[in-house]
């Protein structure tokens, strides 16, 4: 079967048979009611506004925590030591109790 010929014929068929342009009864009235109802728009805008506020608050907290961490730390060496102590703390504890 000639796929190219068939595809051209089907496209011609689609061109020759345009879809109907009938409109459901009182569509414009329903549209106006929908546009008048505050739910969709207001809900969406409120949701977006709250998401923005939450993200800004989150960023602010993250920034404050970062500043506080940097201000209380004594430098990279002490940080490494502290990390090591924390990492081995559990082992030392287990060692102390069990052995």
């Amino acid at each position: 079967m000639n796929a190219k010929g068939l595809s051209e014929m089907l496209l011609r068929a689609a061109r020759l048979n345009p879809p109907s342009d009938t409109v459901p009864y009182a569509f414009e009235k329903r549209m106006m009611t929908l546009l008048a109802s505050p739910s969709r728009d207001l809900g969406a805008s409120l949701g977006i506004a709250w998401l923005w506020r939450a993200s800004l608050a989150g960023l602010l907290i993250m920034f404050c925590c970062g500043v506080w961490t940097l201000s209380v730390s004594k430098g990279p060496v002490s940080l490494a030591l502290e990390l090591e102590q924390v990492a081995y703390a559990a082992c030392c504890e287990i060692g102390g109790d069990a052995w």
Binding site: M1, L6, M9, L11, L16, F27, M31, L34, A36
Partner: protein, 227 residues
């Protein structure tokens, strides 16, 4: 009815100034003559932007049949068609302040409608229900007639129309969009590029790929039906 107008503080307050603002845009950009704007549309849009949302209703009445016809090219179920048409007018209403009056309102609305339909196709591509497995009797008969002798088959038959719909619904969203705009609505490549926001070379590439995709589907159909 107290629909809220899609205007905010940055839009001028009175409708007359909005009409003149839109008219000024037409003059400033010089793209189209003022008479290209369908009479009445500009005044209605200006009134809506000025805080009289009820003026949007005549615009819906004027363009709803064209929107429904366009939307039916991309969706088959009547519930989907109505949802899409609603989405078109809702978006149009909320984006009305972006209409600059440099082209007829109808063109702006139809561009918006095509984009809404494209979004719909992309969102629904994973749950397409059509396949070659459930060919209807009319389609099957038309196909058999075509395989026997293509000259005896007619494009105006129901079978051809159904088959064309089925074929289009099997294509990827971009392929379906570009083929509908180029082959069925017979729009030039430049206009398709404007509607879709794609570049002209991209439209050409996508049209080429779409035709190839379509032929591939038809070859699969032929193999399946041993035609």
């Amino acid at each position: 009815m107290a629909a809220r107008a899609p205007h905010n503080s940055d839009t001028p307050g009175d409708s007359q100034s909005l009409v003149s603002a839109i008219h000024a845009n037409v003059g400033d950009e010089g793209l189209l003559a003022e008479e290209n704007l369908e009479s009445g549309d500009v005044e209605l849009i200006a009134a809506v932007l000025a805080g009289r949302p009820e003026c949007f209703e005549p615009l819906i009445v004027r363009y709803q049949s064209r929107v429904f016809r366009l939307v039916r090219r991309y969706a088959r179920r009547e519930t989907d068609v109505e949802d899409l048409a609603q989405e078109v007018f809702i978006r149009a209403y909320h984006k009305l302040k972006t209409f600059r009056g440099t082209a007829p309102f109808e063109h702006w609305l139809m561009r918006l409608a095509v984009r809404v339909c494209y979004d719909y196709l992309r969102n629904h591509q994973r749950r397409r229900e059509t396949s070659w497995a459930d060919l209807g009797e009319v389609e099957q008969q038309w196909l058999e007639r075509y395989a026997a002798d293509p000259r005896t088959t007619e494009e105006t038959d129901n079978g051809a129309r159904e088959l064309a719909q089925r074929l289009l619904s099997l294509l990827s969203p971009a392929s379906r969009l570009v083929l509908t705009l180029q082959e069925i609505e017979e729009r030039p490549v430049k206009e398709i590029a404007q509607i879709t926001g794609w570049s002209v070379p991209l439209v050409k590439v996508r049209a080429f790929r779409a035709r190839r995709e379509m032929r591939k589907h038809l070859e699969k159909l032929a193999r399946k039906n041993q035609l």
